[in-house]
Symmetry: C3
Subunit: 278 residues, 3 copies
């Protein structure tokens, strides 16, 4: 992160694409209102839904989601995200600028995964109310602050024109990186997906190094799993197994079943990986 008052790289040129990630659900008018504001500020922008079904108020889940979906978008994309339990308090709005993207939303840790992902970034707090709706409600800054700011970014308005540089964005404590002791790796479940797959923070290379030492043993919530496959179809019906997921991390899956239900595991629980020497 930059430590002086000047950005250390020029912001990316905006491409007109604005992604939306929220916990608004799919049955209310909130996501629609957001899109209306975006298109009113810039009728040429292109809103793209990522999800509106983040767990309500779950900033950690939102942070993980953004790290998984956003990197696939073209340079200049504006990523608008709203999970905002602190709306109406002193919680600041924030623009995070990375070498490829703009992120806009509440400064509550929602962009932690992005900021801690290793790329350079700098941050602004939008304070220039000419870029907000008027009046600003105390319960829906997504509509009244974040959406218009996101849309003005696609117009090429510089983040510095909308606010002041800040050096202390809120960062969540990320799950501890996996530890290794006596050839036993210990990490944790960072997300459970729609299929019931348990997604860990244990990277592929470390899993494969353990697997070379003998019969793999993956332990999670009192269940021990002894299979590491490369395709779901290799498993027997309902069988629990490990697999390297599309994010390059160890996942625990159950064939045509939910590993969440089969193991009873919850997010944040520990997962260990070791090997029975041959």
């Amino acid at each position: 992160m930059s430590n002086n008052n000047q950005p250390t790289f020029p912001p990316p040129p905006p491409c007109g694409i604005i992604t939306l990630s929220t916990d608004f659900g799919i049955s209310d008018s909130y996501a629609g209102a957001l899109k209306g504001v975006l298109l009113s500020v810039n009728p040429g922008c292109r809103p793209i839904d990522l999800t509106h079904a983040l767990a309500p108020q779950d900033v950690q889940a939102g942070s993980f989601h953004l790290t998984q979906a956003c990197p696939f978008f073209p340079t200049g994309t504006v990523h608008l995200a709203v999970v905002d339990p602190g709306v109406g308090t002193e919680r600041r709005p924030i623009i995070v600028v990375t070498e490829k993207y703009f992120f806009v939303g509440p400064d509550n840790g929602l962009f932690s995964g992005i900021m801690q992902g290793g790329s350079n970034y700098f941050c602004f707090e939008p304070i220039n109310t000419q870029y907000f709706l008027s009046p600003v409600s105390s319960t829906f800054h997504g509509r009244d602050i974040f959406a218009p700011v996101a849309a003005y970014l696609t117009h090429g308005i510089a983040p510095a024109a909308m606010g002041r540089k800040i050096e202390d964005p809120v960062l969540l404590a990320l799950p501890a990186p996996p530890t290794e002791e006596n050839n036993c790796l210990t990490g944790s479940i960072v997300h459970i997906d729609h299929y019931g797959n348990l997604i860990t923070n244990i990277p592929q290379d470390r899993v494969l190094r353990i697997a070379e030492c003998g019969q793999i043993m993956i332990a999670c919530n009192d269940t021990v799993i002894r299979k590491l496959y490369t395709a779901y179809a290799q498993a027997d019906e309902n069988e629990l197994f490990g697999i390297i997921g599309s994010g390059g991390m160890l996942e625990i899956s159950a064939k045509n079943n939910s590993a969440r239900l089969a193991t009873g595991a919850l997010r944040s629980q520990r997962v260990s990986v070791s090997a029975d020497p041959p």
Copy 2:
């Protein structure tokens, strides 16, 4: 509303944006078929999902939804909405033209909230079948009538070219406006959102006037609430409280909980607001 045969203002210039609000759900092909028809009639139009998860057949909920989401869109937007239990009967299709927008859907009260919201409007019944799919099914006018009509509007076809002016659109009885007696306001719950917030029809200024008289008391379904906050974060965990929502109306919320579950309240139930004089 206009009372003669001529519109009293020119229709807004179409901007190519078509919003979609339906009760089709998200797992069937119905919403997709709608978008296909829109893009077949005008490949340059831009379909924007508002929601496909309106409660099935709930015209009242659809009407409320449109009043909340549509006003944020740019002038010239076509709002296509389908909640249509009367499809295949004599129920007419309708185009409602306001000073900013076009609305297309069934003439069953779905646009009541828009028409009763105070803006000028005029209405047409599309009858010119050259603007419909052929044949028209008896069960899916969303696809066969409303979608092509909406898309032709974005092409600049005048509503009057597609049908005949009508003066008697169907209007739902809106919830009675709040009444006030002896410094006690009585309104009702008009919507319950995804978070479980109970949204009333009692406007901010009237609530604040009561609150100035003493300790506020909000009563709903045998629960009495004595707090009025300006941010969700001011509440204690699970605490019930009143708050002015993003639509400018009193809402009943529960911190990190569902006020719907906490109170057992249903849509249409009465909510009263009074004050214990200090």
Copy 3:
């Protein structure tokens, strides 16, 4: 289907529209990642969500969905579909080219309904890795193979440039067409929709011919239904009835209720239609 090595018609000119149909659900990052890849390969393409709520791993349901939604799109649309239990195995990727459309996804029968629907088509297996993401994961070919191939199609890259022609695409056994014996038609339930309507494979003309012979009797899972209506509103509250649905097939519905719950019927169950002679 073509039986030689050359396509028998030119592929349609791409129009920039890419529809998405998946079983990814709406709460994860998978659908978002797909859209990111599409827009990275062709920033000018237009992703259009059909559904992300196909039943997990249900290739048959996906096949039916595509036959219902896709035909309404303009010529040149690319239909991207992902229901992919065999990802990471020898299961091939496939491009199906019809006279109007391109289809991209796994070669596991997902396009059976399209291929068996009577239009001409030819197929390619994309093998040219320059059109894939790199590296290709073993669990998410939707993102790494199908999405970039779909987006390159909108750039005008010929299917033949991306892979080799194949003559043996996987075809699911479709539900048997309805049979008729002694004026009794027997078909089956091919889909149950969001409202609980039971959609059969018995076409309108055959139902109407039976109905001309006397009082109609529709039998399904031990329930006998004696009404055939042309509009939902003709039924009494909760009444079960037959109706010709928007796809031109017999459906069993219940007024303001779920015919699925009212009958206990499941997909694939038999439905018979006969008449009590007058």
